[in-house]
């Protein structure tokens, strides 16, 4: 980490703030678990919080924020693309529970 990068990343205070935010968000996930809502709604809310948590951890704890922009873009675009590509099969999982045959 260069001096410029170090100054951009801030001091220990910034790490502490991010840590407290992560604790609060983790607490929020636990609070959502006790809400009286559908499992699907609960899943969406919990995943949204988890994505924010992951974003904070990657940007500030893992210092992606201070890396070269080209590298940060490479990591984010490549990872997000593959993660999205994994979501194509969910309709089949629903078909399993209702016992419907696969499409001919």
């Amino acid at each position: 980490m260069t001096i410029v990068e170090a100054s951009k990343s801030g001091g220990m205070g910034k790490d502490l703030v991010v840590y407290l935010c992560l604790l609060a968000l983790a607490g929020l996930q636990f609070a959502i678990a006790f809400q009286n809502i559908d499992t699907s709604q609960m899943l969406v809310r919990m995943l949204a919080v988890a994505i924010v948590e992951a974003g904070l951890a990657v940007l500030f704890f893992m210092h992606l924020w201070t890396e070269k922009r080209g590298f940060a873009m490479f990591v984010l675009v490549f990872t997000i693309f593959v993660l999205l590509a994994m979501q194509y099969g969910w309709t089949d999982s629903t078909r399993m529970v209702v016992g419907a045959p696969f499409a001919k």
Binding site: Y19, A33, E53
Partner: protein, 206 residues
């Protein structure tokens, strides 16, 4: 040496010295590992979700969230202690960096012990890989696979923390090595943020 030779030599040297994305090779390597490992965990979690979504009687065996809340707190705190260690290493304070790296390892061990306690409790209640008293028998296989993969990463991380910490104190490793290890440790923490809601919180017994 002709002008052409010196130009070629200079070009070749420039290619050899400049790392990809202008970041150190070790850091690039750990980032590539993290990206690959993200795919592994994502595949496991998607498979877990697929099974859960496709099952009408998915078990909800968790009555108490105290243990998993404590585990989450410990892992998040270990990320902070890792950062403190890295800052000390950057500042050249070897003793402090070593101490905080060891504290991080201790928190990792504590997390692993709580994890094993959680497993033992479920096994004691009758859960195995392919059967359990609550519902779909695949829950055990899915649960142990996802959490086991994470526990393996924590265990590997603890071993790496101990090894790198000791070698750093002995002067064989430097702050860059602590940073690379820190990236891995934060990644393990990050994965837990997805494991907790999917595997534990969505399966709370209401």
């Amino acid at each position: 040496m002709s002008q052409a030779d010196s130009t070629l030599e200079g070009h070749a040297t420039g290619l050899a010295v400049g790392p990809a994305f202008s970041i150190p090779t070790k850091k690039l390597a750990i980032w590539l590992f993290i990206i690959a490992d993200t795919m592994t965990f994502a595949a496991c979690l998607v498979a877990y979700g697929f099974l859960r979504n496709g099952s009408a009687d998915w078990p909800r065996p968790f009555h108490n969230i105290t243990n998993v809340a404590l585990m989450t707190f410990i892992l998040l705190t270990s990320s902070l202690t890792m950062l403190i260690g890295l800052r000390a290493a950057r500042a050249g304070d070897k003793a402090v960096a070593f101490r905080w790296t060891m504290i991080t390892a201790a928190l990792g061990i504590l997390f692993a012990l709580l994890h094993v306690r959680e497993w033992m409790g479920l096994i004691h209640e009758g859960m195995t890989l392919f059967k359990n008293p609550w519902g779909n028998g695949l829950f055990g296989a899915a649960f142990f696979s996802v959490t086991g993969l994470h526990l393996t990463h924590v265990t590997g991380g603890v071993i790496a923390l101990l090894a790198v910490g000791v070698r750093y104190r002995a002067g064989r490793y430097n702050a860059d090595d602590i940073e690379v290890l820190g990236l891995y440790w934060h990644f393990v923490d990050l994965v837990w943020m997805f494991v907790v809601p999917l595997v534990y919180l969505l399966n709370l017994a209401h």
